[in-house]
């Protein structure tokens, strides 16, 4: 298939060696449709455990569509076919308990979206709904997850203050803390810094380096410096296709496909 000036079938997708690398999540023939609109094609990607994988590409290229399929956030609006394998099970199957699955695969959104509750309640709310009642245990999780999101030192004296009184960057880190409090395995992040100033962005990026010791992270970003700074692997999306997937270093310095090269060097279009 040819669309625009690039051949969308001219792709280079890395595969992992399952003997050496542990795969946290993989997709097989993933297709996404919004009604009649085919928004994502033929996704066969593997994501290595405890690594950060960046999804880059122009706006509208299907990055969010793909990412949101991974924890079934698009169930109401899109039809997703194909398999998403996680720990040996296909989580794209109808039989999956979405609520349990989403505790394993957490998500951080484009804009900080804390609840209008206190900082502490933002974290404990979902835990309590899941039946954790022990106060001491809750306090421990609050501290641990706030430390994990590098926010503890800034808010430890104001845990009962409203989360909406925090700055945008702090709110986003609170959302990260809220996600990791559930004890997930994988974190999906959809342009988590796009609404933040450069200093807050750096803070969140630093946080990610810590997070990857414990979590597998898949992050959508339109910021190429960010992709090259934080990620181990990068996938380049174009018009609903993954054109190239490989080590971040290779994608940025030695891309195999013309479209990727044009995109990372700014000659795209």
């Amino acid at each position: 298939m040819k669309a625009g000036k690039y051949d969308l079938n001219d792709t280079s997708i890395m595969n992992f060696d399952k003997q050496k690398q542990e795969i946290a999540l993989s997709t097989h023939d993933l297709q996404v449709y919004y009604g009649n609109k085919h928004a994502f094609y033929d996704g066969n990607l593997q994501f290595e455990r405890y690594k950060i994988t960046a999804l880059i590409g122009a706006s509208g290229s299907g990055k969010s569509t793909f990412l949101r399929s991974l924890n079934r956030m698009n169930d109401d609006v899109a039809t997703v076919t194909g398999e998403i394998m996680y720990r040996g099970i296909d989580i794209n199957s109808k039989k999956i308990n979405l609520y349990e699955m989403r505790k394993q695969i957490g998500m951080v959104f484009q804009r900080p979206n804390p609840f209008s509750k206190s900082i502490k309640e933002n974290i404990t709310f979902a835990l309590k709904e899941n039946g954790i009642k022990d106060k001491q245990k809750l306090d421990e999780i609050v501290e641990k997850s706030l430390r994990g999101a590098a926010l503890w030192d800034e808010v430890k004296d104001d845990l009962n203050k409203s989360a909406l009184a925090l700055s945008g960057g702090q709110q986003q880190r609170l959302c990260i803390a809220r996600a990791i409090a559930m004890g997930p395995d994988i974190l999906l992040m959809d342009e988590p810094c796009s609404a933040l100033d450069p200093i807050s962005t750096l803070k969140v990026e630093e946080t990610m380096h810590e997070l990857k010791k414990k979590y597998t992270i898949i992050i959508v970003t339109h910021n190429m410096q960010q992709a090259s700074r934080v990620s181990d692997y990068t996938a380049f999306f174009h018009m609903g296709h993954v054109i190239e997937y490989g080590k971040t270093k290779d994608i940025f310095t030695n891309p195999k496909i013309q479209a990727t090269e044009d995109y990372v060097s700014g000659n795209f279009g």
Binding site: F115, K161, A179
Partner: protein
């Protein structure tokens, strides 16, 4: 004329129109309050009305108004809450729900006389409920429901979609997300809407004339058994409200002090509605601050 002048002129005209509106409103309000408040006293607010002699009060009517208001809200709030949640969060976007929305829209612009006559035919006559508080409360529910439902739906829709995704992404069910995250955030708007509706219901006469009736039977304020005929809480006694009372005095009042009573009752009604409106603002703001700012 240059742009600057046009702008200035337009602004002046708009300001003038606004001023005229404010003056008219202030004049009306002032007139009602000035001519009515001198007749308002504790005695006036607490004694029963008299039909033929001077010196009657509005005690029973005032109680009836509040009782009817509370009953109406007790019936219409849960219904509108359910309907509003369904429409805002669950209803699929199809012809059926579009039809429901249309029906609500139409119902909300139904003249209250029509609601009253409908209530009269169906509840008072057909269901043999007679002129009674309960007939009135159901008629007012019909009158109230569309606006309250719209208000709940709008308040829920004003909570950003991202909040719903936040809940779902944490593994919460949709129902928990809606009831424990979205609803609390929509609460200030919902409460404001309820209090405003309360003001509307409180001042409503046309829908009640043929449902709750036009007579204020004497009630015994020491008898709180709702099944007793003379109890204030009895649902099946006819109950003239303040607004109906004002209408009746003005159309057929034969007591010597009809004019004063009408003026006094109007002032009380206006003050009550004002209190509802002001407290709606206050409550909304307070709640919003409590939910968003630091505690």
């Amino acid at each position: 004329m240059n742009t600057k002048k046009v702008n200035k002129l337009a602004l002046a005209v708009i300001k003038l129109i606004a001023a005229v509106v404010v003056v008219i409103l202030a004049f009306l309000l002032g007139k009602i309050l000035l001519s009515g408040l001198p007749h308002v006293s504790w005695h006036f607010l607490t004694t029963p009305s008299r039909s033929f002699t001077a010196g009657g009060g509005i005690g029973i009517q005032l109680f009836n108004s509040f009782y009817l208001l509370i009953l109406t809200l007790l019936i219409s709030f849960p219904l509108s809450l359910g309907a509003g949640i369904y429409l805002a969060e669950y209803a699929p976007k199809n012809r059926v729900t579009e039809g429901v929305r249309m029906a609500i829209e139409v119902l909300s612009s139904l003249p209250s006389v029509v609601v009253g006559l409908f209530g009269f035919l169906l509840f008072v006559v057909q269901f043999k409920m007679g002129f009674s508080i309960i007939s009135g409360a159901i008629a007012l529910t019909f009158f109230n429901l569309p606006l309250l439902t719209r208000n709940v739906e709008d308040s829920l829709n004003n909570v950003p979609k991202l909040q719903r995704e936040a809940g779902l992404a944490l593994g919460l069910s949709k129902w928990h997300t809606v009831t424990k995250i979205i609803l609390p955030e929509a609460l200030p708007g919902i409460l404001t809407g309820i209090v405003l509706c309360a003001g509307r219901v409180f001042g409503e006469a046309a829908a009640l004339i043929y449902t709750a009736g036009q007579s204020a039977t004497n009630i015994d304020f020491s008898n709180w058994n709702p099944f007793d005929e003379s109890s204030p809480l009895n649902l099946f006694r006819p109950a003239e409200t303040l607004a109906v009372h004002i209408w009746k005095i003005n159309s057929e009042g034969i007591m010597p002090d009809a004019e004063q009573i009408s003026a006094g009752a109007s002032a009380v009604l206006i003050v009550a509605v004002l209190i509802f409106n002001l407290s709606a603002r206050y409550l909304g703001n307070r709640l919003y601050k409590r939910l968003t700012a630091s505690k």
